[in-house]
């Protein structure tokens, strides 16, 4: 065995071979090509026939909202007759999917990535709506999309503001999170909001399933300077849908990093503030509220990494405790999804974590009592076992682990370690990161025959019936989830 130092020096020596001179002719050829190549002017992103252009439109809407709120008016957009029917939207960008059936033309260049070989038949028979984020391979924008479990009606979640949903917000969104009733979805919107101070980055926007804007987090910016340079990403809803836990971090002031709770109607936290900061000076990523809404699981991540110990916060007192074993890490990453979950009765916590040295080659599924005691490992150490999710009915815990050839399989197991079942043993593509259907009968997974940049979403029924493909546009799928309400 060689030393780390020797390896490091060898890598440095190998990388620094000093032969990076570009032939002048190569650059001259570029200059010639540029002279005859027109630039692509940006196409109107999610154009609406009623839309005002870009930020000016947001500013106009925000100004109206600000005036209304200052005047004490509770302002809500009126019902949107345009958005009532997805098929009637003039500007919905359809994917290249044959399942996308809106029949309207794209307002943005279609994806160049099409599924060459389907992973499984399309056509899952089940209710609800699936939300997911998919990246743009060149520009890097991530957009939240909605699709039916059947693979039909794939549309980007276009955020519409103004009376009648007249204005579409430019920008891109990620991290869609269904409220418990399935009728509202919170997304992080990656666009500067001019109603706020310069430097405000991601905002959290609440919309309905048609994209009609409901509100921002914070709800209203009365002193914009206080949120300058702050990012807001939605992570967990309370079971009653009255509180949204938001991951917040500042580009300049670590004291402002932490979890904020945004109250919505009926919460005891509702007050003059838009959000309540409940942890601070740490990059804390909310994971899940307990079923009784009194506690919140979160991961205290390293500022430069998306992993750290799993902890629990008692909402009323603000006290925290560590759930994962000492030295162990859990992930808080959009591609893997939440690493931990509560049992339906709130008595148990399931989570995936590394060993006490933080090795990602030795990760297990654990179950612990609510207070963190009686920690029991349900699986042997494996590479990149990143999540453990109780089904909504509490009967099973889902997780994925490496199988033949290193590709991951989706598994379920009882909380007492019984009845471990590989749901994809006979399915060749690798799958990961399963999220439960609202009825606990199936798992939504990302699957691929190649690398994870070329995945599609699949549905794996737990009764052993046929796996079904949902999306047909290979890409990097993150933050996918399955809401209970059909569009």
């Amino acid at each position: 065995m060689t030393t780390d130092r020797a390896f490091e020096l060898a890598i440095r020596d190998w990388l620094d071979d000093g032969r990076d001179t570009v032939p002048r002719a190569a650059i001259d050829a570029v200059h010639l090509a540029v002279a005859t190549t027109p630039q692509e002017r940006p196409m109107p992103w999610r154009r609406s026939s009623l839309a005002l252009p870009g930020r000016r439109a947001i500013g106009a809407v925000a100004a109206v909202v600000a005036l209304a709120v200052l005047a004490g008016i509770v302002w809500r957009p009126s019902p949107n007759p345009i958005a009532a029917s997805p098929s009637a939207l003039p500007s919905v960008m359809t994917s290249g999917s044959p399942a996308a059936s809106s029949g309207v033309g794209p307002s943005s260049p279609p994806s160049t990535r099409q599924s060459a070989v389907p992973l499984a038949p399309i056509g899952y028979a089940g209710n609800g709506t699936i939300a997911f984020s998919r990246d743009d391979p060149v520009l890097g924008d991530t957009t939240t999309w909605l699709i039916d479990p059947s693979g039909e009606h794939e549309v980007p979640l276009v955020v519409r503001t103004g009376w009648g949903g007249a204005t579409e917000l430019p920008g891109s969104g990620c991290c869609g999170l269904f409220a418990p009733d399935g009728r509202t979805i919170a997304v992080a919107y990656d666009e500067v909001n001019p109603s706020r101070a310069p430097g405000t980055l991601r905002t959290t926007t609440r919309v309905d399933l048609e994209g009609t804007w409901i509100g921002w987090v914070p709800e209203f910016c009365g002193a914009c300077v206080s949120i300058e340079g702050i990012n807001y990403v939605p992570r967990a809803w309370s079971p009653d849908g009255h509180i949204l836990a938001v991951e917040i971090w500042s580009e300049t002031d670590p004291d402002r990093d932490g979890i904020h709770l945004a109250p919505y109607g009926g919460s005891t936290l509702e007050g003059p503030d838009w959000t309540t900061q409940v942890t601070g000076n740490n990059r804390d990523v909310p994971v899940a509220f307990s079923p009784d809404g009194t506690e919140l699981l979160f991961v205290r991540v390293d500022a430069r990494e998306r992993r750290g110990p799993l902890m629990a916060l008692t909402i009323v007192t603000g006290s925290t405790r560590t759930i994962s074993p000492p030295g162990a890490f859990t992930f808080a990453d959009g591609s893997f999804g939440p690493s931990a979950s509560w049992s339906a009765d709130g008595s148990k916590i399931a989570f995936a974590a590394t060993d006490d040295r933080g090795s990602m080659d030795h990760m297990r599924v654990w179950v612990a009592d609510r207070d963190g005691s009686n920690r029991t490992a349900l699986t042997e150490p494996d590479g990149f076992v990143t999540s453990a999710r109780f089904s909504p009915d509490g009967a099973w815990i889902a997780f994925d682990r490496p199988g033949t050839g290193g590709r991951h399989d989706e598994w379920i197991i009882k909380a007492d370690g019984r009845a471990a079942t590989n749901l994809t043993a006979d399915f060749d593509p690798g799958v990961c990161c399963g999220r439960w259907s609202p009825d606990s009968r199936a798992l939504l997974v990302a699957g691929t025959n190649g690398h994870d940049d070329a995945s599609d979403l699949l549905i794996v029924p737990i009764d052993g019936s046929a796996i079904r493909q949902v999306t047909t546009t290979p890409g990097l799928y993150t933050d996918f989830s399955w809401g209970p309400v059909s569009r």
Binding site: T2, L15, E305, L476
Partner: protein
Amino acid sequence: MDRDLVERARDGDQAAFARIADETSTTLFGVARRILRDPGLAEDALQNALVMIWRKLPTLREPERFEAWAFRILVHECYAEAPRARQWAATVRLLPTDRPSDADEIRSIGDRDELDRAFRKLSLDQRAVFVLHHHVGLSLVAVAETLGIPDGTARSRLHYATRALRAAFDAAHATDLVEEGRPA
């Protein structure tokens, strides 16, 4: 990169873009050459990337992020060029020579040879993360942002790449030790 220069190029100023191309080409070429392990393919990837950068510049919303954006486009051009390499990529092996050589130098060349072979076996995704992290010096978070992938994905790719290279490096040295009559 000078923000004013980027903004002028974004507005269609070809002279400004020519300066950008001159200033960035060495860095971009270095990244492409290390990902692809082939100077010819790297040159093609660089040229395609620069033309793509020119075409797409008006869509760049944040000029201060030009460098990361350019790396992303370059990496995708590397992905596009890579399949051409499979048909004729040579396997370079260290051959004994007659000239007297310093043992450390021979070992260094041998290390490079082993690392190179192991690196070629990695996926392009893993190579890109490894090069941006170890050669360009980006943090893993910055690599993830540059490539538009989650941090965890960048981490796992780097983990597997490093593990594969370390295994190749260890194996080469184990062979050296055995040949020298010492326990491996």
